[in-house]
Symmetry: C2
Subunit: 245 residues, 2 copies
């Protein structure tokens, strides 16, 4: 009589902002132990999460590289966008499920922290009812930025707002008027709009621009000195109240 193998565990592993030394001890252990490693990548790239993992993955690891069907070619507002992304995540989830069903543990590698704007959430949503999951938190991109920029962000009863730059300009202004401290993410093509919103709300003076924090190509400067173009994963920091120390 044969016995079905015990099902594998899905570890969703936060990989941090880029410096491999900012992996947690737990993340490093899971990467070394996992027989299967999965990650997302732009179709023409290796994938940032895979690069951070470096040679922590064993030489005979089973690699599942999930190439996004598109990145900016189809706008989010186009009905084909959610439909095709849902299909893509369905397929990723099934590829991972096959290994878990065969009793193999899988590590799904995610830039930053998995549950803060991470694609891994879509896989988690599809699989957590069927398989054991372990979520390994990661150093967030924003913490990478404020550490490198040496900008203390919030103290006392400051409220911190984490705001995607994809919002329209009036919404951005609404948040920037109220927030004590703000982190503006997903800059990319939204740089000019964000700059206008910061100016309109008088929050541009202390704003700091950071790109590729903790990586070799890191750049970090007052917003006034930053250019008009920014990579998608760059961030603007607006620190909270000062002078109350």
């Amino acid at each position: 009589m044969s016995t079905a193998p015990a099902r594998g565990c899905l570890s969703i592993v936060g990989m941090g902002p880029g410096d491999p030394e900012l992996l947690t001890l737990k993340a490093a252990r899971i990467l070394r132990e996992s027989p299967v490693a999965a990650w997302f990548a732009r179709h023409d790239r290796t994938g940032h999460a895979r690069e951070i993992a470096g040679d922590l993955l064993s030489a005979d690891v089973i690699a599942l590289r999930f190439a996004y069907p598109f990145t900016v070619e189809i706008p989010v507002s186009d009905p084909r966008y959610p439909a095709r992304m849902a299909e893509f995540y369905d397929r990723c989830a099934e590829d991972i499920a096959a290994h878990l069903d065969a009793g193999r543990n899988v590590a799904l590698l995610c830039e930053g922290d998995p549950f803060l704007f991470g694609s891994a959430m879509y896989v988690f949503d599809r699989l957590h009812g069927r398989f054991r999951c372990d979520i390994v938190p990661g150093i967030t991109g924003m913490a990478g930025c404020w550490s490198q920029a040496q900008v203390p962000m919030v103290h006392g009863d400051d409220v911190l707002c984490v705001i995607p730059a994809t919002l329209d300009e009036d919404s951005l202004c609404g948040w920037l008027e109220r927030a004590n401290a703000a982190v503006i993410m997903k800059l990319g093509r939204n740089m000019a709009k964000v700059r206008d919103a910061l100016r309109r709300t008088g929050r541009d003076g202390r704003a700091v621009y950071v790109e590729r924090a903790t990586q070799a190509q890191q750049r970090c400067m007052p917003l006034a000195d930053a250019g008009e173009r920014a990579p998608y994963f760059s961030i603007i920091l607006v620190p909270g109240r000062t002078g109350v120390r």
Copy 2:
């Protein structure tokens, strides 16, 4: 002719939410290498940051344990509060400066992430003009909570608000009405007020209560099942929009 020793570097090290395996590789390396380790503690406790460090610190490390002069005995609104805390941080900074001046590197250990509501910010403010500083980001308490609770927090253009429970009830309601996702920190004595604010804004249904995340005594449940009392460092999570995946 004698030469002054090179000045030491102050590493401000994020220690994460409690599980020692959630230290970063960089934090672990710095703890092992530092001749001097400093941390804050309640007067009658060892200090959480010191406990997380465990035996990563070398046996002959010079230990600077900074015991807070008070915790909740003097209210923040009392003028003696900022005055006596400022004196305390002045003394901590000078104790650290003496070692840096003597050429010894110092690791200042901080729960969570140093620049997100951390006492280390007050030491940084006093010393960063005089000494080289390296800020090592840590896994935040909130990421520890949402990972353990397995609650994906934000996706797409959700705005996340990190809100101290010390605000008055109307301010809490104002934030909870607008936020797509919210993390409410510093619960402690503010639990009843926060519960009322969540109810008034209709945000109580999906709220999750987490205490001592990633530690042995961790508790995690729907807010409705949580008691009336909470430790200061417990957190309530209100996840962002769902059903758009």
